[in-house]
Amino acid sequence: MNICVRTRFIRSNLVSNLCRLSTTPEIEQNEQVVLIDDTEDVQAKEAEIEQKRNKSRLTPAHYNIIHDKRPYEEPKCLAHLTVKYSRKMYGKYGVASGVNPSLCWPSKQEIQERKEFESVAFPYTIKEMMETVQKRRQEEKLKIDQREMEVAAKFAKLDQWKKELNDKINKKAAEVQSAKQKKERLVEEVRRHFGFTLDPRDARFQEMLAKREKEQKKLEKQERMQAKEKAMIAKLQQKNVEISDKSSQ
């Protein structure tokens, strides 16, 4: 229980305080001149009559509450000494409660604590938060833009890449096809050599095939050599022509 005892504030020159604190003190003062016979005797008699009239059997506190008065004039328990209770009494029963209204505002220490709490609970100002959000939005946008540009650049090259890939596949297929044909031709030749269908796993067949392959390779090599020679000759001839041209000039 947070008990903050500030009893000295309670009921200390209340009226002057109230006038000082309130800019709109709407306390009506009816200045009626009524002659009331208020000698002590009459007052005591009236009080006695009132007491006798009260047949409610309520406790004084309940009687007060029912009659819209503060239940206790003096504190009955610790809770009645707290600031919270005093504020409540003022809020409910107004000036008649006898509480100093200056209690309604937080004390200097409470203000300091509140400020400290707010600095922790709300570390950023509105402007800072707005800037952070703006920054985050910009970053998100930048990311999306970059990705879109990347995709566009790749899309521009897509046709070329497709063509390259198809060419590669076709080339590989053609190579495989030509190798297969070559092999078939060789097998056919061997078969023709023997004059009858021979099992390709036969040793003779294999031998013949190896021989044929060797011949083929030799032939190819020869062809290559010839092509090379031809190229060389052509080159030499060109060179000769060039030299002759130069000399003629």
Binding site: K88, G91, C104
Partner: protein
Amino acid sequence: MGSRQITEKSLAMLRSLPRLSLGNIRDNPGSRRNPKRGRGQHGGDKHGAGNKGSGQRQNYMRLGYETGNNPFYLRMPHEQYYKGHHHRRQYPPISLHEIQKLIDTNRLDISKPIDIASIVRSGLYNFFPDQKHFGIHLTDEGVDIFAAKINIEVQWVSEPVIAAIEKNGGVITTAYYDPHSLMLLKNPKSFFQSGQAIPRRMIPPPDVIEYYTSAEMRGYLADPEKISQERLRLSQKYGYQLPVLENDQNYNMLCERKDPRQIFYGLEPGWVINLRDKCILKPKDEELIQFYSS
């Protein structure tokens, strides 16, 4: 003795017997159990608890436990679709149709600015700030029949609602209130009776700062210049003639807005309201004034 006699006799006996009633019928077999447990060598054998195992020991496994197997209910990975839902802000809805009803039945005074306090006061809307309710979501049901010129302040809206209100020459603002301020707005009387000074409204959290600073959503922290531009833009988008606010006879009422730190219309933070004395107490201490105006 013939069978006739027997019949006669048994009928006579039946007549003499009392009538069948709930008081004289026997219980169904097996409906009564002996409340006492048998004792002795064979009298109380297993007492219905079976032989061996958790049945006999009555230490039953928890539901779903499969004695060391990976339990079925944990075998599948779990996607937490509603993760953190109980921490999220909620805005209990009220529709434009209902607002129209409140106005038509004189529960809302449209000659004054309308805020959550006046809507709660109508008695047809309620919310609970302690249950993560952060105010009113004004929904678009009844946009077509809405026909009132109001200055309303809510906590969440959508574009068609803004358009419906502005089409009728009204104004709408979205404003954030922290739960404590909402408590005050929900029940001002109990707060005033507690004898405290009116606190300041707190600033919105970072995840909604965009909403409450955007002119499109008529945020209370948005630039008024931008808001007027957005009003025009929205009228062009929805195709209606925007009524000129300046020519309106209720111009002052329509232009009334709360300060971002203010909770009640007409009451500033730091004031103490006493309902008994019907007076307002304002602080004069410099530090207090400075604190409540910050």
